[in-house]
Amino acid sequence: MKKYYWDSSAMINAAVSDAVAERLDADTHFARAHNLSEFYAIMTGRGVEIRGLRARAVWSPKDARKWLCDFASKVTIVELSAGEWLDGLDEAGSKVLGARVYDYGHALAAVKAGADVFLTRNRSDFEGLTGRAVIEHP
């Protein structure tokens, strides 16, 4: 059974695509609690562009919360302790600078979970950070 780590872009993808949502029915899945916040911030805030409409899709807070409850029931939430975080920074050295540290937090969580696959739509953000986890589009 494969282990998958979901970043927020993969989660949004699962909210709009049946094929991506299906992936949650099998295998083992992980995410950080931070991803739930990020998903909520995007889906109740700036939203996601709808092709050709000059409009962005958003959700009501109630619907976003409902979807997140469902998602959280299908994944194991993995978090980093301060020590794990600091050790990770030590290991990364100059590979992680500035705002990339936020992406690195996801990568460290995926490594901690022992993920085989890191699911994201922002592939280049995580290149070289995810250890043995292969980066894939969801």
Binding site: S9, N13, V16, D18, R46, G47, R54, A55
Partner: protein, 88 residues
């Protein structure tokens, strides 16, 4: 010369260009109205993107976001990148 100073002369260069960083920030667009020797430049404000409230629906037993139109993978990547950049 500050924008508070009402006396301001702008002279076009040899290629007909007038420059003022204060009045014409890079990337802004203007619509000219010419009335004899008087030229009025109206700054164009970009059209605001509408927000469409999606519906939470159950499809094949799963909770899904239903919106009129397609949400592409590129749009998802962009939305997440914008959100992360806004916090950086």
């Amino acid at each position: 010369m500050g924008w508070d100073n009402p006396i301001m002369t702008l002279t076009a260069d040899s290629r007909g260009r007038i420059a003022s960083l204060e009045l014409f920030p890079p990337g802004t667009s203007f619509e000219p109205e010419v009335e004899g020797t008087r030229i009025i430049l109206k700054r164009l404000v970009p059209e605001e993107t509408k927000r469409v409230l999606g519906k939470l629906v159950r499809r094949k037993g799963r909770l899904m976001l239903d919106v009129p139109g397609e949400i592409t993978a590129e749009a998802i990547a962009k939305a997440v990148r914008e959100e992360r950049d806004s916090r950086a």
